[in-house]
Amino acid sequence: MSVIQISKLTKYYGKNRALNEVDLNVEQGEIFGFIGPNGAGKTTTLRILLGLLGKNGGSVSLLGGDPWKDRVALHRRLAYVPGDVSLWPNFTGGEVIDLLARLRGNVDKARRAELIQRFDLDPTKKCGTYSKGNRQKVAIIAAFVSDVELYILDEPTSGLDPLMEIVFRECIAEAKKAGKTVLLSSHILAEVERLCDRISIIKEGKIVESGSMADLRHLTRTSVSVVTGKPVTGLSELAGVSDIAVDGSSIRFSVDSTGLNAVIQYLTRFDVHSLTSAPPTLEELFIHYYEHAPEAKVR
């Protein structure tokens, strides 16, 4: 069953086209990653799903309803963490958590206490004095304290420190185990990779790729960095290798995933001391799209 079904969604801000026929399909119980650089249209899409913005074209279905018309009924079944968490400066974090949770339903006090402890939040501080990361924590706790079917999270970890990111990932894993659906927007590929079942990439208001991470990997290059005992020669003649940079005994290059196996076998001849390989970053994915898929560009 689809929790979110978006087809050919188009949105204009004045004459500026923010979304261009976006398609997105999120199934029940899955963690769905929605990635793209800043300004690509992630937040606009999420705000349309929340009924905060109207659409100019296409169709949107959320939990079987219309996000614009059935706002109140649908909002009982979801929780939202905004990207730029702005809270009332005179409210304490604890007050905000209670207020938002109460507006959605009742507060499970044990769950609330547990989350505050896990995220290491001081709920007596005024929101005006919180750092960005702490405001983010307040919004995340306020969302996860509610037992809802769908969590819509807009760049929830920007500003969180690495320890808190781990706690956040645990929360997502628990939500998945409980059969909840999560739509997670991010511009950090690594985060999405760890958490998500499927992803969609949006660029300049258009979805350029959708699928599981494995589906997308084939399109991309892996960067390899290797230190060898003997100088490496002839690497550039192998299929799929490019961007070679030699620095003494260490050498860096990138390789198409199709050519990776042959390259690793070839390298063993040169007495490998150490080898690291890194999956493509979001930036590399985008570079890939600029290089290989110019037709995906939106004017």
Partner: protein, 531 residues
């Protein structure tokens, strides 16, 4: 303080002017235009020295006029202009000056832009200094324009220079007050309220000083100093030294406070608050109340104080006026046989009606600021309908305005009644006279709500509407504005209960108009994008 703390002032001044030159230009234009209108109307109305002398004598014999606007210091055209333009210049110049400084300092800090700017080659005092330079500069420019206008109409030079400069130094004074407010208060809203409170308080003190003839009091307020400059009569140049010293002290104070606090804080340290929300905080109405209650409380206190002061002054004023046969005769011509105290009261009600409107517009536009600060997103993503959210805010606006007026009516009516020895009859009269302003104020609040729902980018026009109403009222006083134009202002339809006008129909009409405006706003809000 070191020189490098001030690095980058020039860049910031240019940035401020480039960002807001339209606003600054509008400020100068409104003041210049008003000056021209006042001058031409007086030249048209009072063609002979006899007419001026008579008008001056009549006005100065009215304690209400003297308390409200001040004395006309000499029977000359210049003094007449300074008297008429003085109050609007005080309000407009003072308000614009501190608003501009707060905008360039505290608002920049609130929005985090200052943090961005501070990370570049900009000294830590550069923001405050640049804001003050822009505010001082525009005040001096306005003074120069005013001098040119006055001289252009052939008004005596020395008096014109003194008058124009008194407007400028007053603006600079409140620019410094804005600078202090921005340092003391933790965010934009409270800073504006703080500076606005001082502007109102300074005016009230002068009002009491002139109303009670306790001249010593007029020396503790800049509004009194502005009068003591005595343009076109005394031309007391040394008062400017007093102004300059005061401005220097206030500016220094702003810098000292600024040096003792961290970015994003005020002078008042933040204490830890409750770890859980109070049981009542479980609806959007409760949230709106929590966000608005302190402003309502502050306005209520101001109206209670005003009620006591005005209730007490009126008796003394009425007594003094009854001993002046010339004035009693004039009054009889204007308002039939209304007692002197009543007409005195009526004038105060006009002013306080406008102050209550400021509250109503601030309260109604709280929704817009909640939207701009992205707080509305958080609430509207929960199962709170847009109608419920907006209606809660509107309800607080409407009820809050009623509370302010009723509290004032009760307090002023009671003190007036006690001083007249007749609480039983005075209290209800004053109470209903104050309450009669409620529908007109609701109409202005309704305009703000309609703009919010239908044209959210133009909500600032609500203030324009209020300014137009004030100008119409001031213009109507000296017959610049015709009755047909006066009819545009909802305040023109408020029945003068104290003069025995008990008509209900215009009030019903105003309430219906307000209801239509508010409904249009609420409907529009449900159909538009949240920005």
């Amino acid at each position: 303080m070191k020189m490098e703390d001030f690095t980058g002032i020039g860049k910031l001044v240019r940035l401020n002017i480039r960002r807001d030159w339209k606003l600054l230009l509008a400020w100068a234009l409104v003041i210049s235009l008003y000056m021209v209108v006042v001058i031409t109307s007086f030249i048209d109305l009072y063609t002979t020295p006899q007419m001026i002398t008579q008008f001056v004598a009549e006005t100065n014999s009215s304690l209400a006029e003297v308390a409200l606007v001040g004395k006309i210091l000499s029977p000359t055209l210049g003094a007449l202009i300074a008297w008429k333009a003085g109050l609007p210049m005080y309000i407009l110049g003072g308000l614009a000056s501190f608003l501009v400084v707060i905008k360039y300092t505290r608002t920049e800090e609130d929005t985090g832009r200052l943090e961005l700017v501070s990370s570049m080659a900009v000294g830590k005092y550069a923001g405050l200094t640049a804001a003050l330079i822009v505010a001082f500069g525009i005040n001096l420019v306005i003074a120069a324009i005013a001098i040119a206008i006055l001289l252009g109409f052939g008004i005596p030079a020395a008096g014109s220079i003194a008058f124009a400069l008194s407007i400028a130094v007053l603006g600079c004074f409140f620019a410094s007050v804005g600078g202090i407010a921005a340092q003391v208060c933790g965010s934009t809203g409270p800073a504006r309220a703080f500076a606005g409170g001082i502007l109102a308080l300074a005016y009230l003190v002068r009002m009491v000083a002139d109303g009670t003839s306790i001249s010593l009091l007029s020396w503790v307020t800049p509004a009194g100093w502005m009068e003591q400059v005595q343009p076109y009569s005394g031309n007391n140049w040394w008062i400017f030294a007093l102004f300059i010293v005061a401005i220097a002290v206030l500016t220094a104070l702003a810098f000292i406070i600024s040096s003792r606090r961290d970015l994003d804080t005020g002078l008042m340290p933040q204490r830890p608050g409750p770890a859980t929300a109070s049981p009542g905080l479980r609806s959007s109405l409760a949230l709106a109340w929590r966000l608005q209650r302190s402003m309502l409380f502050a306005f209520t206190v101001v109206f209670v104080v005003c009620g006591v002061l005005i209730g007490l002054i009126t008796k003394a004023a009425a007594d003094q006026m009854s001993t002046n046969p010339q004035f009693m005769e004039l009054l009889a011509r204007i308002s039939g046989n209304a007692p002197a105290g009543d007409s005195f009261f009526a004038i105060f009600l006009v002013i306080l009606g406008f102050v209550a409107t400021i509250y109503a517009v601030l309260a109604a536009l709280k929704m817009r600021s909640e939207e701009n600060e992205m707080h509305a997103d958080v609430i509207l993503a929960t199962p709170v309908s847009r109608l419920r959210w907006a209606a809660g805010n509107v309800a607080i606006t409407l009820v809050g305005t009623a509370v302010i007026l009723m509290v004032f009516g009760l307090v002023a009516g009671a003190t007036y009644g006690v001083s007249m020895g007749n609480v039983g009859s005075e209290l209800p009269r004053v109470f209903f006279a104050a309450l009669a302003y409620l529908p007109a104020i609701w109409v202005i609040a309704g305009i703000a709500v309609a703009l919010f729902g239908l044209l959210p980018r133009l909500t600032i026009l609500s203030w324009g509407v209020l300014v137009v109403c004030v100008l119409i009222e001031l213009g109507g006083d000296i017959k610049i504005v015709g009755t047909s134009i006066m009819g545009i202002s909802p305040f023109d339809h408020v029945p003068m209960v104290l003069s025995g006008d008990n008509s209900i129909l215009p009030l019903v009409g105003l309430v219906i108009l307000a209801a239509v405006l508010i409904s249009a706003g609420l409907i529009g809000f449900q159909r538009r994008d949240i920005s």
